[in-house]
C-alpha cells in the first residue's frame, strides 16, 4: 500500500481514538460524581420512592458500561438526552445555538484568515523592517490581552461612545441576514483581533524559517527577485506549514468563542456550556463538550493530514 495512505490512516485512527477517549472521559467523569442524577433532577421533592422510580425510568439501575454504550449510540444518532434544568431535549437547546456559534466563528474566520496570511507574508517579506517590528509589537500586545478586555473595549468604543453598533448580540432565529451581521460584527471583530495575531505570527515564523534554507539562497544566486523567491520557491514548500497554522487557529477560535459569547451575551453554544456548568446541567455539559472537542480534534486532524500530503518528500517517494 502507498506509504502516504498508511500515514494518513494512522493519523485518522489516532483522531478517532482520541474522540472515543474523550467521550469515555466525559461519560464516566460524570458517573463518578458524588450524588445521584435522579436526586439532582427531583431536588426538593426527592423521596426514596420517587428517586427509585426515576432511576428506573432513566435506566440508572443498569450497569455503567451498558449505559455508556447506549449513550454513545444515542449521541451518534442525534439523541442527546434531556436537560436537567428545564426538561427539554438537549438537541432542541443545542440546535439553533450551534448554528449561531458556527455563524460567529465562520465570520471571524472569513475576516481573519486572509488578513493574517497577508500580514504574515508581508512581515516575512520585509522582515526586520519598521513595519515588521511595529506589527510584532502590536500582535504581541493583542495576544497578551484577555478576550473579555478586547470585547469590552470594543463595546465601550463602538456601542457606548460612538453608538454605531449594538452592545449586545441579541440575535433571534427570525432575524434576516443583514441584521444578524450587524449584531455579530463586534464579537467577530474581538475574535478576529486575537486570532489574527496568533495566525500572523505563526505564518511569519514558518516563512522566515523557510527563507533561511540554502535552496532559497540558491534561488537568489540564480537571479530570482524577492517576489519570485517568495511566490515560486518558498510558498510551494510553505503550504503545509501555513495550512497547519490556519487549522490550529480555527481550533483556537472554537475555544475563544466561549468567552466572547459570554461578553456579548451571544446566544451560542459557548454561552450554553458556561450556563449549564454553573447550573450543573450535566447532560448539556456532556454534549456541548463533545461538540467542541470533536470540532477541535477534526481541525487538528485536517491540519496534520494536509501537512503529510503537501510534503514533496512524502508525496514523491522513490
Amino acid at each position: 500500500m502507498n506509504p502516504i495512505l498508511i500515514l494518513i490512516a494512522k493519523r485518522l485512527g489516532l483522531g478517532l481514538l482520541t474522540l472515543w477517549f474523550v467521550s469515555f472521559g466525559v461519560f464516566f467523569a460524570i458517573e463518578a460524581l458524588p450524588g445521584d442524577t435522579a436526586e439532582a433532577i427531583l431536588g426538593q421533592s426527592a423521596t426514596p420512592e420517587t428517586v427509585a422510580a426515576l432511576r428506573k425510568e432513566l435506566h440508572l439501575n443498569q450497569p455503567a458500561l451498558l449505559r455508556y454504550w447506549n449513550w454513545q449510540i444515542a449521541v451518534l444518532t442525534g439523541d442527546f438526552g434531556t436537560s436537567l434544568s428545564n426538561g427539554r431535549p438537549v438537541s432542541e437547546l443545542i440546535g439553533t445555538r450551534l448554528g449561531n456559534t458556527m455563524f460567529l466563528a465562520g465570520m471571524a474566520a472569513l475576516i481573519s484568515v486572509p488578513l493574517a496570511l497577508c500580514l504574515g507574508l508581508l512581515a516575512a517579506l520585509w522582515r526586520n523592517s519598521l513595519f515588521d517590528r511595529l506589527i510584532n509589537a502590536v500582535t504581541l500586545t493583542s495576544i497578551s490581552m484577555p478576550e473579555f478586555f478586547i470585547g469590552y473595549v470594543l463595546i465601550f468604543a463602538f456601542a457606548i461612545r460612538a453608538g454605531i453598533l449594538p452592545p449586545m448580540s441579541a440575535i433571534s432565529p427570525t432575524m434576516g441576514l443583514p441584521d444578524r451581521i450587524v449584531f455579530t460584527i463586534l464579537p467577530a471583530l474581538t475574535l478576529t483581533l486575537v486570532v489574527v495575531a496568533h495566525m500572523m505570527r505563526m505564518t511569519r515564523a514558518s516563512l522566515v524559517n523557510l527563507l533561511s534554507l540554502p535552496y532559497v539562497e540558491m534561488a537568489r544566486l540564480k537571479g530570482a527577485r524577492e517576489m519570485r523567491v517568495i511566490l515560486f520557491h518558498v510558498l510551494p514548500n510553505a503550504l503545509g506549514p501555513i495550512v497547519t497554522v490556519i487549522a490550529l487557529n480555527l481550533a483556537y477560535l472554537i475555544t475563544g468563542v466561549v468567552v466572547v459569547e459570554v461578553v456579548f451575551v451571544y446566544p451560542g453554544l459557548g454561552q450554553l456550556l458556561v450556563d449549564s456548568v454553573s447550573s450543573r446541567d450535566l447532560p448539556v455539559v456532556q454534549v456541548s463538550c463533545m461538540i467542541f472537542a470533536s470540532a477541535y480534534i477534526l481541525l487538528n486532524l485536517t491540519a496534520d493530514v494536509i501537512a503529510i500530503v503537501s510534503d514533496p518528500r512524502q508525496l514523491h517517494r522513490t
Binding site: P146, Y152, A251, V258, V277, C289, F292
Partner: protein
C-alpha cells in the same frame, strides 16, 4: 561585571518597560495588606458609588471598595498563577527529563498521554473538569497545572532530546553516569534558556486562563477578589459609559504584555542573529 552593565544598556525599551512593570506588580502584590485601609470582603457603602477621594475607584456591585479589591485581586491572581505555573513546571519538566534520559517504554506512554490531553481544547477541558470537581482553589490550581504541564513536557522533551543525542551526553553515559547526573549536569544546564522563556509564556497563559475562568464564574470564587470576576460583576457599568470595570481587565493586559515583551527579547537574544 562591566559587560553585564553594557548588556543592560542594550536592552530594548519594550523589554525594559516589561521588567519595570513586572517588578511594580510584585511589589504591589506583596505590600497590598499594608496599602489598603479596607479588607477585600468589607462592604463600605452603597453599590456602584462614583469615584471619590475616600474610594478613588468607587465601589462595586455589592458596595465594596474597588481599589482595595483591585489590589487584592492582583495579589490573589498573581499568587495563584505563580503557584500553578511552578507546579506545571515541576510536573512537566520532571516527566520530560525522565522520558528522555530513562527512555524505554516510559517515553512512548508519556508522549501518547500528552498527545491525547493536548488534542482536547484546553478551556473546554478545564471548564468540564471544574464542573465535575467543583471550583475550589486547590482544584483550580491542580486542574490548570496538570493540563498546562503537557506543554512544558513537550518543550522539555524536545529540547532535552536534542541535547541527549550530543556526543558529550553519550560520553557521560559510556562513563557509567546515572540518570540523575545526566539530567542535572549534562542536559538541564543546556536547556535553561528555552525553559526560562517558556516559564514566562506559561505564566501568561496560566494567568489568562485563571482570569478567563473567573470571568466565566468558575475560577476564584467570591468573596475573594480577582481581576476576572471583578470585570464580570461590574460589567453593567460599561453600558453607562463608566470605564471602572475595564481597569482590572487592563491590569491583566498590562502584566501579560510586559511578561511577553521580556520573553520576546530573551528568545530573540538566545536565537542570536539567525533572524
Amino acid at each position: 561585571m562591566k559587560t553585564r552593565l553594557a548588556n543592560l544598556r542594550q536592552v530594548p525599551p519594550t523589554a525594559l518597560f516589561g521588567i519595570v512593570i513586572v517588578i511594580l506588580y510584585i511589589v504591589l502584590a506583596i505590600l497590598t495588606p499594608a496599602l489598603t485601609p479596607y479588607s477585600q470582603r468589607e462592604i463600605v457603602g452603597g453599590a456602584f458609588l462614583p469615584w471619590t477621594s475616600a474610594h478613588p475607584l468607587g465601589t462595586d456591585s455589592l458596595g465594596r471598595d474597588m481599589l482595595t479589591r483591585l489590589l487584592y485581586g492582583g495579589r490573589n491572581t498573581l499568587g495563584i498563577a505563580f503557584v500553578t505555573t511552578i507546579l506545571a513546571f515541576a510536573i512537566g519538566m520532571a516527566a520530560g527529563l525522565v522520558a528522555v534520559t530513562v527512555g524505554g517504554w516510559l517515553e512512548p506512554i508519556l508522549s501518547r498521554i500528552v498527545d491525547m490531553l493536548m488534542s482536547i481544547p484546553q478551556l473546554i477541558f478545564k471548564l468540564f473538569l471544574l464542573s465535575i470537581f467543583g471550583t475550589s482553589i486547590p482544584t483550580l490550581i491542580l486542574v490548570i497545572a496538570v493540563l498546562d504541564s503537557t506543554r512544558v513536557f513537550r518543550l522539555t522533551r524536545a529540547a532535552a532530546s536534542s541535547i541527549a543525542v550530543m556526543d558529550y551526553v553519550e560520553a557521560a553515559r559510556l562513563r557509567g553516569e546515572g540518570p540523575w547526573w545526566l539530567m542535572t549536569r549534562e542536559i538541564l544546564p543546556n536547556i535553561t534558556a528555552p525553559l526560562i522563556a517558556e516559564f514566562g509564556l506559561r505564566f501568561c497563559f496560566v494567568f489568562l486562563a485563571i482570569a478567563a475562568l473567573s470571568f466565566l464564574g468558575l475560577g476564584i470564587q467570591p468573596p475573594l477578589a480577582d481581576w476576572g470576576s471583578m470585570v464580570r460583576e461590574n460589567a453593567t457599568l460599561i453600558t453607562f459609559g463608566d470605564i471602572t470595570p475595564l481597569i482590572p481587565a487592563a491590569a491583566i493586559a498590562v502584566l501579560t504584555i510586559s511578561v511577553n515583551f521580556i520573553v520576546d527579547w530573551m528568545l530573540h537574544k538566545s536565537t542570536g542573529l539567525k533572524e
